[in-house]
Subunit: 636 residues, 2 copies
């Protein structure tokens, strides 16, 4: 259990030194000769000069007749000129100009006589209706300079200029080596402890998006001699190598040792989070990167350290990232020691761009999929308060953010279904939903940070739903309560109900492992209410403190036998094949503030709520009582 | 010579009706099952639901020991708790949580005793340092909705969620049929009349950029039975077909006839320029487009009529095109009958975006390559005046335009070389040059529309260059005259000098075919000056009215034997292997206005002017006298 020392150098310093080192070792773009018709999107290595003129001959530009222009001089409305059969040639567009001719007359302007001669009523200017040699491109001209991206029209120009093969920048080959005894090829039925190897799929896709070619090696177990052999092969046959996982200072950590045997290690450990245990190695001008195993860490390391090097190898201009200013909807607390990359969902509410931080776990790859942008919290910064202005690097076009309905509140799978149906109906619209519980949603609406929120809060006084909370927490009104669904809440237990739970009281039989929802969620309020009315102390429940954020997450714990029971909705139980003991039907509604109500996107969402497709999907999910979704129940 | 009737329906009406018709016939995206790791950039056909939780087991999130949390309760700085060897298990990050454990303690917080027991100085919270089942993704959750573009992170999420194959929108197969007796496969040495078939390369690249798959057929000669057979095969095996060329109403025009035999023709003829003779056909839900033969016309037709249909087939959101407002630098005259698409070069000068129209010939494919944007001149609009504000659809990122040095003035191939060297030195900088002659350049500088202009204007009074013109046309000064090169002007004649021309006077020997430069060009001024001082009437020159815009274009005419002589510079003659009779050395300089002088881009260009690389390239081109390029000769 020995720990190797990790650096804590700043990202900027490490990156600059790394790139300088690689350049000093001779890192630069390579080039190759390719067929020009396959060159779209590639980048020229050297200027391309035309070898042919285009047109390469004088071409008739009209259907008509070709003549010597001076024969037509003097022709007029009242003084037509007649040309005999030997004085003109019939031509089509694209025909070479016949010898001895220097003008083309459109067929519409030619009157043909019976004897084959033609009459002209106006003179032709020399070289009229002729595409002269080189009109488009002259031989010897530079068609494209070096380091220029090739467009479809440029392909046409190069072929027209007689350049059928051209020298372009080669796509750098990036070797990707997944490692680890516990890492397995993706399968639909992994064993506990098997880690599905999907990092190489993510990294390859990133590399290819950036213009490289990915070469993925088979998974290498944690055996030093095998790792050494594979890394050595990859360094030989690739332009850069990513050695994935094993780069933290743990028990099975061979990465830094093996990289340092075959390459120089500039830094091990960078002051970024996630991504700290990165290894920056190089073998001559070839980068050899040790990439952390957690997918989010790996993505950040590759984006921050490989991308700029790949751009250099590709001869690409650094894309200038798009940044926007947004309002942070929840506080971010950050460590002073690192520069932190926080993924956020975004949306535009009432003219204000809102950024909501996503799950920050380095293993949570879905956070990267859901992210609309990234906030970089500087090293030395303790965090950012809710409501503050933040600078966000966009991961999606701003137009998409502006077309996203921001839903913040209680979780229900029907929100995903709603978003899907909305996007199918209108491809320009998106849903961006954050699950923070019913109360969290009300607070977001109060701050003007969401278009709507899902809510199912029980008023313990009278058993009614939602209205009492709106009156208490949104006393100034300005919102509508829109009917959504009734949904059956109950106790989820393992299939076959091995503990024989038949009612709420049975949860307290003893020995039962409960899994709870987070504070502020309607389901937690319901549990507390039932405890109170039935005279139970919730702290008697083993697992009361164990919080999950969604119904499906609770169901997943029970299905995996890490808990025996939890409260949730029928559709989640059904999804996991769990038994379900119904306890009550609660009202799940949407709260829509006035500032969002007239927004056409919100109105379109309401029309989806009212659609038969949505009702059908609810029936398939099960456990919902559907009356008149989309109708306003009350205005406040 | 019969003409078939062409419609003149507006683009918008034709496009809407065409899309409605195709939709009514059942046009919609198709889908296919593919391996998820090959899915980057593809679009989901249906929502993707997770089949597995991720993690799919409780995973230790730290290297350390796993315990039952309650065994550590009560531990404190002064009250350590000791756990025997049976009470803990050593674990690594990623290991499954051992049975009977519900917390992980970091190895740093564990003190190991000699007997194998461990001492803890603080309690563990249940479920600490454990990635619980479903922390990232819960089985049953919607990972992606339908019609969503797949990102690298989404690939990782889907694999983590057990989705190894997914249903995505198929790439529509677009059949491209080049036709025409005169059309030949590209070659480096075509015969006169051979039209190089590069349209299919342009169209394929466009189709593939837009997410389709191009299927290019071999060139079909103008034989009705062959055309019919190929078109019929293509309709059977593709999702849409482009029949290229033959769509105007000329002699060899079989397209509309054959399309109407195999499909319905909605319109033949659209009120756009270029692109008028397009044919809008459909066979069931399959579009069958007759695309005009001129490349620029074809590009416009495909972009305006195929792209929106392809987007529908691909399930893609219509990209919202980027538009900017710019100042038009030269007037555009347009026909009332058509909507015209005018390609422009753009640049930002002194904070103002400038758009300069490019060559508008439908055959000039290089105009599309050079274009930074497109101005759509509405049907019914006669044109737009210079200096007016125009709305430009951008073809390049605005950031590139802002980083372009706008050069307007006299042509010399050294400007292309300069641009190439500048871009190699600083990949973020571009040159956007328009060749309008020396006087045109001075006028553009006067209007504040260029960063600099090339100029070689002879003062007939004293034989000096440039200064007199600056004083006359830029009387307010505010410019610097920057030395560039001396260049040898002379008479270019065919190799071997068959007409035996040895001096200026010989041009007037009679029977000689001259090719001139355009009015306002320095070379034309030089010719006129020589005529005057030598007592010749320039109108005696046969071909005096025949204007070309560049030195290379003049050389190309002579090389092609469509002229016997023309004035130009040595490097152009050398490029075409012409003989060259030197007449004089003229001073080619750059005029740089004060408003551009301090621009860092311009300063970087000047440092390239002064570089040894530039001098070396001038030597290779030949005919230049190089003294001290980049030094200021005079300030006005």
């Amino acid at each position: 259990m020995a720990f190797s020392y990790l650096n804590n150098v700043s990202l900027e310093k490490a990156r600059d030194e790394y790139i300088d080192k690689l350049k000093a070792e001779g890192l630069k773009p390579k080039s190759e000769l390719i067929n020009v018709s396959a060159a779209c999107g590639r980048i020229t290595a050297v200027p391309v000069y035309a070898k042919l003129c285009s047109p390469h001959y004088h071409a008739c530009a009209m259907d008509g007749i070709a003549i010597m222009a001076h024969l037509s001089f003097g022709a007029g409305e009242t003084t037509p000129v007649t040309l005999g059969v030997d004085d003109y040639t019939i031509v089509d567009t694209g025909d070479p100009l016949p010898d001895g001719c220097d003008a083309v007359i459109m067929i519409e302007d030619v009157i043909k006589n019976d004897d084959g001669s033609v009459k002209l009523y106006s003179p032709a200017a020399p070289w009229q209706h002729i595409r002269q040699i080189g009109e488009d491109i002259c031989a010897g001209e530079m068609i494209l300079p070096a380091l220029k991206e090739i467009t479809p029209a440029a392909i046409g120009s190069m072929i027209a200029g007689g350049c059928l093969e051209i020298e372009v920048i080669s796509k750098p080959v990036i070797g990707i080596i997944p490692t680890g005894d516990e890492v397995v090829t993706p399968t639909a039925s992994p064993k506990p402890g098997d880690i599905l190897e999907f990092n190489s799929s993510i990294f390859s896709a990133m590399v290819e998006e950036w213009g490289g070619k990915a070469k993925v090696y088979p998974i290498v177990p944690d055996k030093p001699e095998l790792l050494r052999q594979t890394l050595s092969d990859a360094i030989d046959s690739c332009d850069a190598v990513l050695l994935n996982a094993g780069s933290s200072a743990g028990r099975d950590d061979y990465s830094v040792k093996i990289i340092s045997e075959l390459a120089e290690v500039l830094y091990h450990g960078i002051a970024i989070k996630p991504g700290k245990p990165a290894i920056l190695g190089y073998c001559g001008a070839k980068p050899v990167l040790g990439v952390p195993g957690y997918p989010v860490s790996g993505i950040i390391v590759i984006e921050q350290l490989l991308k700029p090097i790949l751009d250099l190898m590709c001869g690409k201009v650094n894309d200038s990232d798009a940044y926007v200013t947004a309002t942070l909807s929840r506080a971010i607390v950050s460590g002073l020691k690192y520069k932190e990359f926080v993924r956020v969902r975004m949306g535009s509410v009432d003219g204000k761009l809102i950024a909501s931080p996503l799950n920050r776990g380095a293993g949570v790859v879905s956070s990267f999929m859901k992210a609309d942008g990234i906030i970089e919290v500087a090293q030395g910064c303790e965090g950012i308060l809710a409501g503050e202005s933040v600078n966000v690097r966009l991961l999606r076009p701003k137009s998409e953010l502006v077309n996203s309905i921001v839903i913040i509140g209680s979780h229900d799978p029907l929100l995903d279904e709603l978003g899907n149906l909305l996007h199918l109906k209108n491809n320009n619209l998106f849903v961006s939903s954050s699950h923070v519980g019913s109360m969290g949603g009300i607070m977001a609406l109060k701050r003007g940070e969401a278009h709507l929120g899902g809510c199912h809060l029980l008023n313990e006084a009278d058993g009614s739903y939602n209205t009492a909370y709106i009156k208490r927490y949104l006393p100034d009104g300005g919102v509508r309560l829109v009917e959504c669904v009734g949904r059956t809440q109950g106790i989820m237990v393992k299939s076959g109900n091995p503990l024989g739970i038949s009612c709420f009281e049975d949860l307290f039989k003893g020995g039962l492992r409960y899994v709870n929802r987070q504070k502020g969620s309607g389901t937690r309020v319901l549990l507390d209410y039932l405890c109170k009315t039935n005279g139970f102390d919730p702290n008697m429940l083993y697992g009361y403190e164990r919080e999950e954020f969604t119904h499906t997450a609770v169901a997943a714990q029970i299905a995996a036998d890490s808990a025996d029971a939890g409260f949730g909705i029928y559709s989640a139980a059904k999804m996991y094949g769990l038994d379900f003991i119904p306890v009550c039907v609660e009202q799940y509604d949407l709260i829509i503030p006035d500032y969002a109500w007239d927004n056409p996107m919100v109105q379109e969402l309401i029309s989806v709520l009212q659609s038969p497709e949505f009702k059908q999907r609810l029936n398939e999910l099960g456990g919902y009582t559907v009356n008149a979704p989309g109708t306003v129940r009350e205005r406040f």
